[in-house]
Symmetry: C2
Subunit: 129 residues, 2 copies
């Protein structure tokens, strides 16, 4: 088994792939041109590099594309939520042996987590009753 595959056999998105996914999550199905422009707001990257990445993502089954137009439209196969849940699950398992509360403790101990955030979390929990 490849190192970058999980037990349920889904390939783990790499860093560059995640960048692309995030654009698609934020703006919805897009062309390579659009994604590339977005990426270039953060860092310089060649159009064909982005194109290649998105083709690879499609090969991997992480993206699908509408080829009915000349400008292909790329769409994530899985919903944002589902992908993030998978990544989060893997993260919790890897670093915290699956203990969500342990992760929480660090989150709350981190000064970068603002009081406002903490209040929001409390409301969330209360509303779950």
């Amino acid at each position: 088994m490849k190192m970058n595959e999980t037990e349920n056999n889904l390939p783990e998105p790499t860093k560059a792939e995640l960048e692309i996914l995030q654009v698609l999550w934020e703006f919805g199905p897009s062309t390579v041109r659009f994604v590339n422009d977005q990426l270039n707001m953060q860092r310089e990257v060649n159009y064909t590099s982005t194109l290649k990445q998105m083709q690879i993502l499609t090969e991997k089954g992480i993206l699908k594309r509408d080829e009915s137009q000349m400008k292909h439209i790329y769409i994530p196969v899985e919903a944002e939520e589902k992908t993030k849940v998978q990544l989060l699950d893997r993260f919790v398992n890897t670093l915290y042996k699956g203990s969500a509360s342990q992760l929480m403790m660090q989150l709350l101990g981190n000064e970068k987590t603002s009081k406002k955030e903490i209040e929001e979390i409390k409301r969330l929990l209360d509303s779950m009753e």
Copy 2:
């Protein structure tokens, strides 16, 4: 800047490196032999591969080692907590734009997060008042 370096210039541990760190976190300072044996409970890996990784980790300053014995003893330079906080921080920023409460929502929506865990988190928050 290398892709795998953060803004504060600390090298991000790779997957294989993280595996080794986790053994050291769990069992304390150890020899290569011990770490390798632990890893081999999960997957097959050659002794010299583990050795090399640990040497690289030492070069990077992530581990230090006691060479006073023939069997070198390897020790993480940073505490487990500190390293995990860094990784968590990066994770939240990357996937949740820094919003801890958003991460929480997914954690709580995940059926793998047990009721027991949720209760624990609540107690934690209450005790923070």
